[in-house]
């Protein structure tokens, strides 16, 4: 029905006119045209006739059941909303006294909780402080005793019964490795017991983290301090990574008697970030070791006495020699352990970490960025290749299985989809 060439109005415009969708001017034009054009009047007649025939499609009235159901539901909803409004505890208004009361109580509760926490915190810190000061006092006392031992070692003197024997004496009496006579063994037993009771052996350790301005200068000073305090560095590591502060980590061994002085000197290297000290009582461990050593030496002496008598046959002699060798090995092992233990006591360990103050350099930033960009690009390329390779490998590994499963699933899926479409088209 192409009337655009011969008629000034299109059939769609006639329909729009019929539906009242045109403005007044256009409606007037269409109306005038329909009056003078029988063909367009016929189209308008079709629309009128169609609408008239559609009015024949009548619908039965709504059932009472539907009305009751909707009214019931509306009543329930209305009752619920009313009860919700009625039972509302309070409205949020700044003049509502309940709001102020609630806010005030909350504030008071918060203040009380804060005060309670502060009191607990103060009490806890007092306890920690008192325990720490007691520990420091004990530590200082032990340090003084340790220094007196060192003095005694350097300047041997006759001890009276009230003086505590030095560990140098102890070492002389318990170590040495030479075969000891029964009389020497008696000295050991007399010398070991008293120090364990009166002068505990403490293996002291400390750790320091210090920020220094110049790491090279600090290292030079550190070497000088080690010489001054007769200590040495058991382990030392220097790290100098790019775009990061340089650092030095060392495990220092300082004579225990000089630990406090060494710590004071080390702190002059820079700003102390962290410091800690601890001590381990190894007296009992040392006494046990001395007792076992004494017993082993006595056993060895007895075996040697048996060997000197040579009353048995050759096999007995060989057996005694084997026993002597075994006991000798045990003695040497225990002596080494004892030496190590005494060394731990004689030389305190300081775990030192020196970190240089780091200043970022602007000039190096651009270089670093280009390097990082290059690395990022390479990493990105590798990731992309890895992803593609992963997908390819996945398809190689599972592709065939996926195709088989798709083929199995496709038929019922297509069947269900077609039924669904068919059912939808009927509605």
């Amino acid at each position: 029905m192409n009337t655009a060439a011969t008629h000034p109005v299109a059939p769609e415009e006639i329909m729009a006119f019929f539906d009242g969708e045109l403005d007044a001017d256009q409606a007037q034009i269409v109306a005038n045209h329909i009056d003078g054009c029988s063909e367009c009047a016929s189209i308008a007649g079709k629309f009128r006739g169609l609408s008239k025939s559609l009015t024949g499609w009548s619908i039965s009235p709504v059932s009472q059941k539907l009305e009751e159901a909707v009214y019931d539901f509306a009543s329930k909803i209305s009752a619920k909303s009313k009860s919700r409004k009625a039972s509302a505890p309070f409205r949020f208004s700044i003049w509502n006294w309940r709001l102020w009361a609630f806010g005030g109580m909350s504030a008071v509760t918060g203040v009380l909780l804060l005060v309670g926490f502060q009191i607990l915190n103060i009490y806890h810190s007092d306890r920690v402080e008192s325990e720490h000061s007691m520990a420091m006092m004990v530590s200082q006392k032990r340090g003084e005793e340790s220094r007196s031992f060192v003095k005694a070692e350097n300047k041997p003197q006759v001890m009276n019964s009230l003086e505590t024997p030095s560990r140098a004496d102890l070492r002389t009496s318990t170590g040495g490795g030479a075969p000891m006579s029964g009389a020497v063994g008696g000295i050991v037993s007399n010398a070991v017991a008293p120090p364990a009771a009166s002068a505990p052996m403490i293996a002291r350790t400390a750790s320091l983290t210090i920020t220094v301005k110049d790491l090279a200068a600090a290292r030079t000073s550190l070497n000088a301090m080690l010489v001054h305090h007769h200590g040495y560095s058991a382990e030392l590591t220097v790290e100098s990574a790019a775009n990061a502060p340089r650092s030095l980590t060392a495990s220092l061994r300082i004579p225990a008697s000089d630990l406090s002085n060494a710590m004071v000197d080390l702190k002059t290297l820079g700003h102390v970030e962290k410091e800690s000290q601890s001590g381990e009582d190894v007296s009992q461990q040392h006494a046990d070791l001395a007792e076992r050593l004494k017993t082993a030496r006595e056993t060895e002496e007895r075996f040697r006495g048996i060997l000197q008598q040579r009353t048995g046959n050759i096999s007995d002699v060989l057996e005694v020699e084997e026993s002597i060798a075994r006991v000798r090995g045990e003695i040497e092992s225990m002596e080494a352990e004892q030496t190590g233990l005494e060394h731990r006591v004689d030389f305190a360990t300081i775990d030192l970490e020196l970190v240089e103050e780091y200043k970022e350099e602007i000039a190096s930033a651009s270089t670093a960025f280009s390097l990082r960009f290059h690395n990022a690009f390479v990493a990105g390329y590798r990731n992309a290749v890895g992803t593609v390779a992963g997908i390819f490998l996945f398809l190689v590994e599972y592709g065939l299985s996926i195709l088989i499963w798709l083929a199995i699933i496709a038929f019922p899926a297509i069947f269900i989809w077609r039924r669904y479409r068919k059912a939808r088209s009927r509605m």
Partner: protein, 202 residues
């Protein structure tokens, strides 16, 4: 309206209030406003579903569901569009959900044996012919035609409901009307035969 149940003690709302004012009043708690809205739209909305769903009981259920949706969403109602458009939009959504569920069920169970087009339940020849012809229209064109002819929506309202340009609505409506006219003209003899069959049965 006939057959209307008025809630006891409910005051009669002002007839001059428009739909949007009534809906706003209901959202503020006026039960009478809802009563008036229900009176105005219960039959049109039932007709909306009845012309699209075969089973009258299902049409009633969908009508009820639509009004319940309106009640539930009343607190969020904003009078930005005509209430009529708002109501039919809800109806279309509920109808779409119903059709999807029914089609999904039909995938596995098939169409029910007693499935009949709505017209088969009617007694009038014209009505039957109309339903048959409507069923043959393309779905979107049929929907546009129904919304225009029975719900009396303007082109703009139909475009808003179906998310289409107004020009598309106009051209599709024109095609639907032409197609329906042809179908009705073609089915006139068969309609007469059907009428004769119905008369014989009665």
């Amino acid at each position: 309206m006939d057959g209307t149940i008025r809630r006891p003690g409910a005051a009669k709302p002002a007839d001059e209030s428009n739909d949007e004012e009534l809906m706003v009043a209901y959202s503020h708690g006026s039960q009478d406003a809802f009563d008036e809205l229900f009176l105005r739209y219960k039959q049109p909305l039932f007709g909306f579903f009845r012309r699209r769903v075969a089973d009258p009981a299902q049409a009633e259920e969908l009508t009820q569901e639509s009004f319940i949706a309106v009640i539930r969403a009343s607190s969020r109602y904003q009078p930005s569009a005509l209430f009529r458009t708002y109501l039919y939009a809800i109806g279309l959504k509920i109808l779409g959900a119903h059709r999807r569920k029914a089609a999904f069920r039909a995938c596995f169970t098939g169409a029910p044996d007693n499935y009949q087009e709505p017209a088969a339940l009617g007694n009038l020849e014209t009505e039957y012919a109309l339903r048959q012809a409507m069923g043959k229209l393309e779905r979107l064109e049929r929907e546009i035609l129904l919304l225009r002819e029975f719900e009396q929506l303007s082109y703009a309202e139909i475009a808003e409901l179906l998310h289409l340009p107004v020009n598309t609505v106009r051209s599709r409506l024109f095609r639907a009307r032409m197609a329906l006219h042809r179908l009705l003209a073609a089915s006139a003899p068969s309609s007469s035969a059907e009428q004769a069959r119905i008369e014989e049965r009665s």
